[in-house]
Amino acid sequence: MIQVQHVSKTFGCRAAVKDLSFEARDASITGLLGSNGAGKTTTLRMVCGVLTPDSGTIRIDREAELVRARRQRVGALLDHTGLYSRLTVKENLIYFGRLRGLYPDVLQHNVERLISILGLRSIADRRASGLSQGERMKVALGRAVVHSPHNLLLDEPTNGLDVPTVRSLREFLRELREAGTCIVFSSHVLDEVRILCDNVVIVSYGAVVSQGSAAEICSRTNTASLEDAFVQLTSVVESRIC
């Protein structure tokens, strides 16, 4: 479970995140929906501990912990795949597993399982430099979950992927949800969020403007579709603090 409470973050004159709060439950997929520059990426970066919030609290599995311990409980795929091009697919997975302190036998088991689940068997020993975008995304996803985290953060993971890859990604995320994983999934693609997410958090200019299931949000805004609700909720003007 991820609880974000009254979190704010400012870069220079721009308030990227303003008093933002939401909760992502276990065994569910929470969609963080917002336009480009709405603060989704900054929020996810703060949740996984690479950015420090100016104020507010972030709790993972109900505990406010040190950033390092928080990172242990979370797997994340943020922004870009960032694979090591001179390492093979397997070596990329193993490297991150070793950094997370997995025992060799556990690591070996997890890597083999992920290679099988994500369909990476035929490219397991190929260097990452020769992979397609879809393959890179799968490897990066495998790397994010190599330690079997209870919480998973994904920042626009379907960007630039073809339909079969998107479908297999959705299937993988559903399997993780069934296994009890708390997944936070950021996107600006409404259909993606509608299809996949149990709970939707709409963010506009760094603040939460609505949250709930897609049906609840539509009902609250008196609109027929999530797209209409999104447009209505996000049509406010950005404010600067200086």
Binding site: R68, A69, A76, D79, L99
Partner: protein
């Protein structure tokens, strides 16, 4: 923590060694000194002007650790930033100090490797040209270990600091190329300046190593204390610079790409 440092160092070293073109260019760079010295040997009729020759040998030995670590240093932080692989790395439950130490160890490996290649080239050159230098092998190894190897630690620290300050490989390459001129400039200054005779100069990192190496090659008596103190001072400065780089790596800006 130590385990994570070693995991990172191992990965960085393996990764850099797979960049064959970079390894080959670094090796050529390390052997460039002996090659230039060979030209000087021919120009001075088989090394008759030996003081110039010895000064050049020591200057190129000082440059070697800087050139050797340059490619991996720029690739390991600025390059990771540019390729956007630094952010995934920082998502791991690893202290940023450990990440930096791991990368630093890998740069040190390449800096020392470059120094050894350079010395090997010099020895080969001297053998081929028949020039005799009055220095015992044991004295050479002692001096190199105590005084000059810590220079590789310093070179790795400075290069990593520059790499953490840069946002792209191109930018890091510009500054790191300029950095190589600093030991060269110090070395040349000391060849001609009377200040080289002052005791305090011998304890300055880079300058101290230049004087020590030159004394050694001249056949001057070997002192144990001076290389040891110089080595400790150099290692101390290397740690201070590494702390600065660590501080830089802890900032929020580091997670943003270009």
């Amino acid at each position: 923590m130590l385990n994570q440092v070693l995991v990172i160092a191992e990965k960085e070293t393996r990764d850099a060694l797979r960049d064959r073109r970079s390894v080959v260019s670094s090796t050529f760079y390390a052997l460039m000194g002996p090659l230039i010295i060979a030209f000087v040997v021919f120009a001075t009729y088989a090394g008759q002007n030996q003081s110039v020759l010895l000064a050049m040998i020591s200057i190129f030995a000082l440059i070697a650790p800087f050139t050797g670590g340059m490619n991996i240093a720029m690739d390991t932080v600025a390059g990771e930033r540019e390729r956007q692989s630094l952010l995934p790395l920082l998502l791991n439950p690893v202290e940023r100090t450990s990440i930096l130490l791991g990368k630093w160890l890998a740069v040190v490996v390449f800096s020392i490797g470059s120094l050894l290649v350079n010395l090997f080239g010099v020895v080969l050159l001297l053998r081929m040209t028949g020039i005799h230098i009055p220095v015992a092998a044991s004295a050479l190894s002692l001096s190199v270990t105590a005084g000059i190897l810590p220079l590789a630690l310093l070179a790795a620290s400075v290069e990593l600091l520059i790499s953490t300050l840069c946002r792209s490989v191109k930018e890091a390459h510009t500054y790191l190329s300029l950095l190589v001129f600093i030991p060269m400039a110090i070395g040349m200054f000391l060849v001609f300046s009377p200040v080289a005779r002052e005791t305090w100069v011998a304890l300055l990192p880079v300058a101290g190593q230049q004087l020590q190496f030159e004394r050694l090659l001249n056949g001057s008596p070997i002192e144990l204390l001076r290389p040891a103190v110089l080595g400790l001072l150099t290692a101390g400065v290397a740690i201070l610079i590494l702390l600065l780089a660590g501080n830089r790596l802890r900032r929020d800006e580091i997670v943003y790409g270009n």
